[in-house]
């Protein structure tokens, strides 16, 4: 999977609000950035957990929805042409000849003097079934994501969940499956009304089944599922199937960062409060992922951390250059970088 090395000033792990704003502060100082995120979209918690909930404590924005904040940040950083590598996880960090070499799950490789970890509470990953036997089936007959739709042709599928992913995959796989059923705790769904209507129509025509209930056990041998035990309002049933697709939403998990040799405290990365640098020189941590005395997990604090971090990052990127403090209001140099000159 070895691909060409991408050489840049700053690699940012995590495209949440804090990672995004760091692009702006870095850009003002002439540093360019690549960002990596496990999600297939930018915006971190704001976009994934509360896109349509209001935030009231962003300075000078009396109220702003989660997604709106992300959209505004994207507009603000556009002049600096950040490059996004989405749907991949930053996995390995190594020191090579005085620079950092970072590799993602998709095999993308970066080399840079500075790495900024803006990883929030970790990568968003699918929530797994909390059944002790589940691990034995995972990857063979139990899946938490669909990579290739065709791999499910002719299978007897059970889809679990009540959100858009569950409904979308249920509808997409129905024409390919030998038979298909949907299991969900309630007869109500948190999915696009149109998908719900399509699902109900299939069930009515007898082309698919809906089972109201919760999964309580998996049965099978050697990782091959044979049936799923479901607790329904009228008692426990065994539903025969050979494939289970479970969509229980996402959770955040520290992931590979834990093995990078960073000094951790309660799942967060320790930094100094002058430059938000970690115990590894040139590796910074900002936003929810970092900790120091008095740390508050607020977007506001993450923005501040990003600004200060860039002052020191500059020295790693341009050891021979002098850093001049300038205001965006009055500096023609900054106006040029912002594209407003």
């Amino acid at each position: 999977m070895a691909s060409d090395l991408i050489r840049t000033d700053m690699v940012i792990v995590g495209a949440g609000p804090v990672g995004l704003f760091a692009v702006f502060e870095a850009g003002l100082l002439g540093m360019s950035c690549h960002l990596i995120d496990n999600l297939d979209k930018v915006g971190g918690q704001c976009a994934e957990l509360y896109p349509d909930k209001p935030i009231y404590d962003i300075p000078a924005l009396p109220v702003c929805m989660g997604q709106e904040l992300v959209d505004r940040l994207m507009e603000q950083i556009r002049p600096f042409n950040p490059v996004f590598h989405l749907g991949q996880q930053a996995q390995r960090l190594e020191r090579v000849e005085g620079r950092w070499r970072l590799t993602t799950s998709a095999g993308t490789r970066f080399e840079s003097p500075v790495v900024v970890i803006a990883a929030g509470a970790g990568s968003f990953v699918p929530r797994k079934l909390p059944l002790p036997e589940a691990a034995a089936f995972e990857g063979r007959s139990l899946f938490y994501a669909v990579r290739r739709r065709d791999a499910f042709r002719g299978r007897r599928i059970l889809v679990a969940g009540g959100g858009d992913s569950a409904l979308d995959w249920f509808l997409a796989l129905q024409p390919l499956a030998q038979d298909i059923a949907l299991v969900h705790r309630r007869d109500q769904f948190r999915a696009a009304p149109d998908s719900v209507a399509k699902m109900r129509a299939l069930v009515e025509r007898g082309e698919a089944r809906f089972i109201q209930g919760q999964i309580t056990g998996l049965l099978g041998t050697d990782g091959q599922l044979e049936a799923v035990r479901i607790r329904t309002p009228s008692g426990e049933i065994l539903h025969p199937c050979d494939t289970l697709l479970a969509f229980y939403g996402l959770k955040m998990e520290l992931g590979p960062l834990a093995d990078w040799g960073l000094e951790l405290e309660g799942g967060q990365i320790k930094v100094d409060t002058e430059a938000f640098e970690t115990n590894l020189p040139g590796v910074f941590a900002i936003g929810d992922i970092c900790t120091y005395p008095g740390k508050l997990k607020l977007i506001l604090s993450g923005f501040h951390e990003g600004a200060l971090m860039c002052q020191k990052a500059f020295k790693y990127c341009f050891p021979d250059k002098k850093l001049v403090f300038r205001y965006t209001t009055s500096s023609s140099e900054l106006h040029k970088r912002l594209g407003v000159a």
Binding site: Y50, P130, G161, H184, Y248
Partner: protein, 104 residues
């Protein structure tokens, strides 16, 4: 001061002082009991799931639709399941008893 009783995942019961106006999740978290509450009480994670003692369950205000939707993403949901961040401590709830649901 009002009290709540919380049974942890090992079956041990804890008596906690309950600040009126706080959510049950906040009371449990501040007492240092293991409740993840990943979203900080915004009804966006279901990791503050508890089982409410049946006689207390009946006395609680009905859950909002939003809480029901989030409970859909929890496991081992029972008839007495609630998200503790959505229950506000009031005088009427003095003495309420809840059990922490399994972690996932």
């Amino acid at each position: 001061m009002a009290k709540i009783y919380v049974v942890d995942r090992e079956g041990t019961e804890h008596e906690l002082e309950a600040e009126l106006g706080w959510s049950l999740m906040e009371i449990i978290r501040e007492a240092g009991l293991p409740i993840e509450a990943a979203c900080g009480g915004c009804c966006a994670c279901a990791t503050c799931h508890v089982y409410v003692e049946p006689e207390w369950f009946a006395r609680l205000p009905e859950p909002e639709e939003e809480e029901q939707m989030m409970l859909d993403e929890a496991f081992e949901v029972k008839d007495t399941s609630r998200l503790s961040c959505q229950i506000k401590m009031t005088e009427e709830l003095d003495g309420i008893r809840v059990t922490l649901a399994p972690e996932f």
